[in-house]
């Protein structure tokens, strides 16, 4: 009998957990060879991207945020350290180096890519910490060289990790104070949203702090283009801002393979049901994490929880239990405010984020996270979170609600 194949494309936050989780939910099927879990990863190293904040604004050592992907996986996951060229959903096939692998279930977990080249003039004028560790390091170096003038932190949408632009602004301001040159530096923060943070309850915390720290806020600023000679950014809304140092969160797009396979929208996001994570047209295809078109934050927390839900749905479908797992839309993203304080942006599809007091405890939780992350990819920490926050899904169908 040919084994049933689960093919996972993308060995990041969502794909790694999903592969591990699928093996643990179908343990005896995998051990007996009835099910195979294949993971395609285009890099042999797994990078903890939130570490880019520490690299760019605290000068942290990049290698401390990398681990070999193989070491993060259950040994029964079949890892292919190769990039998938394209997928064909009609043929139920994944193509790698012109070879074809047929699947029974496909999971698209290819993430999102920061694309400073998507806006005219942006790439050549800016530093950013979303395109990888090296660029994060360059941002740190530029901040070290900077000797006064105007720093603009410029947010473009869509992007992963909604808190990251605000964090950048606070940490730049703090760094300038630590370097003793704050009085020679103007810190500006521009965002496409109507307030400093898209969720009102969080903006109520962020805005007074920005004012207190002398960070000048520009709202509803959607970058149209950057003029490299003038060193000015122009918005679609008709405003302009000049800068000496430009730090940006570039607009993001889906992965190359999504465009090549023609399975996404114009920005490269793949359609998925926001509760089941299943593709609306192909019931053997699931999409998790940044890759989806779901209007939820592109964050590691979401990728993680969606991976759990998708793995449960695949296992339930394979085993024929009749259960359907529905993601509640839970998010829980730390937002650092400088001065060793943080809040958590917590919400679900039904409940907007509520207002919180910044605390040292939340800051310490955020800083402790890199150590916990590697364990989370194995699914080992979830029982603790579930204890405090409940399950990230509701179960419908047989035995469910």
């Amino acid at each position: 009998m040919t084994p049933k194949r689960i093919a996972v494309v993308g060995g990041g936050t969502g794909g790694t957990l999903l592969a591990n989780k699928a093996v643990s939910l179908l343990r005896s099927e995998v051990s007996s060879g009835r099910v195979e879990v294949h993971l395609f990863a285009d890099s042999s190293e797994h990078v903890f991207s939130p570490g880019n904040i520490d690299i760019a604004f605290r000068g942290a050592e990049p290698s401390s945020f990398r681990r070999p992907e193989r070491n993060l996986l259950d040994r029964r996951v079949l890892l292919h350290e190769r990039a998938v060229e394209r997928v064909n959903l009609e043929e139920r096939a994944v193509y790698v180096d012109s070879e074809r692998l047929n699947y029974d279930y496909l999971v698209i977990a290819t993430g999102s890519v920061a694309r400073p080249d998507a806006i005219s003039g942006l790439k050549e004028t800016s530093y950013n910490f979303h395109t990888g560790q090296e660029d994060a390091r360059r941002t740190w170096e530029a901040l070290q060289r900077f000797n006064g003038g105007r720093v603009l932190v410029l947010t473009n949408i869509p992007h992963k990790c909604p808190p990251s632009p605000v964090e950048a602004a606070f940490l730049v301001e703090e760094l300038m104070r630590k370097r003793g040159i704050r009085e020679r530096v103007e810190v500006l923060f521009a965002t496409p949203y109507a307030r400093a943070y898209p969720a009102a309850a969080i903006a109520e915390v962020v805005e007074p702090l920005m004012e207190e720290r002398g960070i000048r806020l520009y709202t509803m600023f959607n970058t149209d283009y950057v003029d490299p000679k003038e060193r000015k950014v122009y918005s679609l809304e008709g405003e302009e801002i000049g800068f000496d140092l430009l730090i940006t969160v570039p607009p993001h797009r889906g992965a190359d393979v999504v465009f090549k396979s023609e399975i996404g929208d114009e920005e490269g996001w793949v359609a998925a049901d926001k509760e089941t994570l299943r593709h609306p047209k192909f019931d053997d295809v699931y999409v998790v994490g940044d890759a989806t078109n779901i209007p939820i934050s592109k964050s590691g927390v979401v990728a993680h929880l969606e991976a759990i839900v998708a793995a449960e749905n695949i296992a339930a479908d394979y085993l024929g239990t009749g259960k359907v797992y529905c993601y509640t839309g839970r998010i829980n993203c730390p937002l650092e405010l400088g001065g060793s304080r943080a809040v958590f942006v917590a919400a679900t599809y039904e409940r907007p984020p509520s207002r919180q007091r910044p605390s040292l405890m939340k800051y310490l939780m955020k800083r402790a996270f890199p150590a916990v992350y590697w364990e989370m990819l194995r699914g080992r920490v979830d029982p603790v979170f579930d204890l405090y926050l409940g399950k990230p899904y509701k179960v419908k169908g047989v035995g469910g609600a």
């Binding site: 949408i157 909604p162 109507a194 919400a347």
Partner: protein
């Protein structure tokens, strides 16, 4: 052309992200119909439309969500 953008259940980053995405690929004269549950959506969209020189045609309370129709009048440069 009218395009429906369903941003129900989105609080972070929220409906304005979805609206602006649709706006970037729209032509002058197009209409974007935004569905949202975020209580901030009405004021955000109105403020953004005013600033960007676009027009809010309709804001309606439906059962459990809002329907906001924006007409694209002006686009960037």
């Amino acid at each position: 052309m009218r395009r429906v953008v369903d941003a129900r259940g989105s609080f972070c980053p929220g409906p304005l992200t979805e609206l602006i995405k649709a706006y970037k690929s729209a032509e002058a004269g197009d209409e974007i119909e935004l569905l949202a549950t975020d209580p901030g959506a009405k004021s955000d969209v109105s403020a953004w439309a005013k600033k960007s020189g676009n027009e809010v045609l309709e804001i309606k309370d439906e059962q459990g969500y809002f329907r906001i129709v924006v007409k694209v009048v002006r686009k960037g440069r």
